[in-house]
Symmetry: C2
Subunit: 398 residues, 2 copies
């Protein structure tokens, strides 16, 4: 489902326009908040005018109380459901967002915005710098998870939504959900951080750094200026994606999916072609990714995640991030997630407990790893359904 | 300690010569088995003449019964102790091999050979192909762990050592130790595979594939022909090393070493320089590695590890690899090793138990990860000391 025809209160100015994108991205027109607003970033730089590309699914109710903000992960975007205009494939949460699904679009107004520094129409490195008429590239300022959330808050202002019924997201989306609940406790009725963490660990940073080095050492990166030079650092970006992808699965998941099976034959070929099935799979992950993602955006967003440390915003005390919070939390973690392990979610729950917050913690037993939040995990859906139904009852939505 | 002057029975022909190496490697002369021998590889290719570069420490006793073969890991080499001639730093097992150390050179004759396809003087991609006068590069045949072990067996023939007192190694060295015990049970009195596995898993292969892609997508790789073109794929090799290095540590080790500490300042710089300490550390790991290692060798050796599957040599039944084995085993694993997890060592122990083998299994509690076998782990040293002393008693060495 494309939501262009469903969305936006009529009293708000809205612009449908073709946003600058690299030729290869071949975007379809999208909904953008193309405001006169400006945003002061953590770095001290002011972004103006601010452009936020977003999609919506379902309808906002009369008192604007049924909005669910979905926050996407590192390589996600605003196309959570329906057919993605670039890839032609279903949106990344097509199994969660839709009529009768956990994020029921017959009941809720589901909203997802491309993060700041992204590459699907929100202001970011591949977008045109109005002052130069050329892509920002590395002249785009570094952003933080906090900046991403502030930008989303401006979008909500624009849409006339004072309080979200729920903010939800997995991985980096979960970081944003935590930041939302911490920064705007009165604008969030409930929050569902999934497979997330309140900080990036040294190992997390290490994996991101490897990805960035892979991109930046690709000669076609051209010190970030590749769009102006009609080049693309596809090899480097593919290697970055392949490395990251390993961290999204688990050893057990790899074993079950591929084992040691050879790709084409029963016999070793004694060469460097993709000989094992797992190699072909990874190469495919790398090569399809570069068609839909911008390398500089990858640098910026990974850096934003590295910077994230919610406790550091509060003198190193995580519980201070949620002081007397009125928000209802459902914290979800997956047992085989070694990228954002259960212990990181437990740290969040402990911080919430220290505030006597209303918090439900679900550790879901699965061997599918970090990406479990994107997969069909019945227990995950049950937890989501149950929590949202309970919260909706309290909010008077059902 | 350089061992050139200590080594080799006088009745064996031995050649000291300068071996071809890329200019940047700046090798010192090393001991080589420069034989008229040939080796039929698993791929069906015959390597002749075979060159094996090796080092020895301590003296062979009168009945040639006190030899310990150390098998090195992926990026290790024959310089286990003393000062490494290329790096100028201590050998990689300088804390384990030496007078009074667990591999006591006052008692044992310790021997380590550069693996086939390596880049420290044994026959491998950077060595000169006598037929062309140029480096083999990708014309070098693919090798397996089995081939590496067969080459070492030829070296022992040459040295007149019928039976090793012990074969020992960590990681890929442990794979070789397992292969030795399986293939040549009568030539091995005891075997100590450490942080090892009887096969490479899909996740292991995946990480290696990422490293290979990083190298092969570096334009300076020149389809493997970089030595002839006076180039080096340093960026790609550094990225490969950085990725691998993450897998050698643990989340906890990264956290303890670096946490989220910034490199130079207390404030974020909002840029892509190495801002966190962990980034500087990784970049250092990458940049120092490329000075001492050959990119093609990295491709070949990672592939050899990927191919390793001891059970597959015996109709998929691992226990058949050790049928009625007379070898005494000490299998050592580290609790925080997620690259070669404890479960892989347990599978080996189970296969040995199915043969009523003489096996001791030690799971050492540490949060330092896979590389624990290179670090000062007192419990690890105690285990090694105890096992070797017991075995030496049984062998009549003490």
């Amino acid at each position: 489902m494309e939501s262009s025809d469903l969305m936006a209160p009529a009293d708000k100015p809205m612009v449908d326009r073709e946003v600058h994108t690299p030729e290869t991205f071949n975007h379809q027109p999208k909904i953008v908040l193309d405001g006169e607003m400006s945003l002061l970033l953590d770095s001290g730089v002011t972004l103006a005018p601010l452009t936020i590309a977003y999609q919506t699914y379902g309808e906002l109710n009369a008192d604007n109380s049924n909005a669910i903000l979905v926050c996407h992960a590192l390589t996600g975007d605003q196309y959570v459901a329906g057919i993605h205009p670039v890839t032609g494939r279903p949106g990344w949460w097509d199994n969660v967002v839709g009529p009768g699904l956990p994020l029921d679009t017959d009941r809720y107004f589901v909203l997802c915005a491309n993060v700041l520094a992204g590459c699907m129409g929100s202001l970011g490195p591949p977008e045109t710098n109005p002052k130069t008429g050329k892509p920002f590239a590395l002249s785009f300022p570094l952003v933080t998870i906090e900046d991403m959330v502030r930008a989303q808050a401006l979008l909500l202002d624009h849409l006339g939504i004072d309080q979200l019924f729920c903010v939800i997201g997995g991985s980096m989306g979960g970081m944003q959900a935590l930041e939302w609940a911490s920064r705007y406790p009165d604008r969030v009725f409930s929050a569902v951080p999934i497979a997330a963490a309140a900080r990036h660990t040294a190992q997390n940073i290490a994996f991101h750094e490897v990805g960035r080095q892979a991109i930046m050492s690709d000669p076609n990166w051209c010190d970030g200026d590749y769009l102006n030079q009609s080049k693309r650092p596809q090899q480097g970006l593919a290697v970055a994606r392949m490395t990251a992808h390993i961290t999204y699965l688990s050893d057990a998941a790899f074993h079950r999916k591929f084992g040691r099976l050879l790709q084409d034959s029963q016999e070793k070929t004694y060469g460097f072609d993709a000989e094992f099935k797992v190699e072909s799979y990874l190469r495919h992950q790398g090569s399809t990714f570069v068609d839909r993602f911008d390398a500089n955006s990858y640098l910026y967003i990974t850096r934003a995640m590295d910077y994230f440390d919610l406790a550091a915003q509060h003198d190193g005390v995580l519980s201070m991030s949620f002081r007397e919070t009125p928000v209802r939390f459902c914290v979800i973690a997956f047992t085989s997630d070694w990228l954002f392990p259960v212990s990181e979610s437990q740290a969040v729950v402990q911080a919430l407990n220290a505030n006597a917050a209303n918090v439900s913690f679900c550790e879901i037993e699965t061997d599918k790893g970090h990406d479990s939040f994107l997969l069909n995990e019945p227990e995950f859906f049950d937890v989501l359904n149950g929590f949202l139904r309970g919260a909706a009852k309290h909010r008077g939505l059902i």
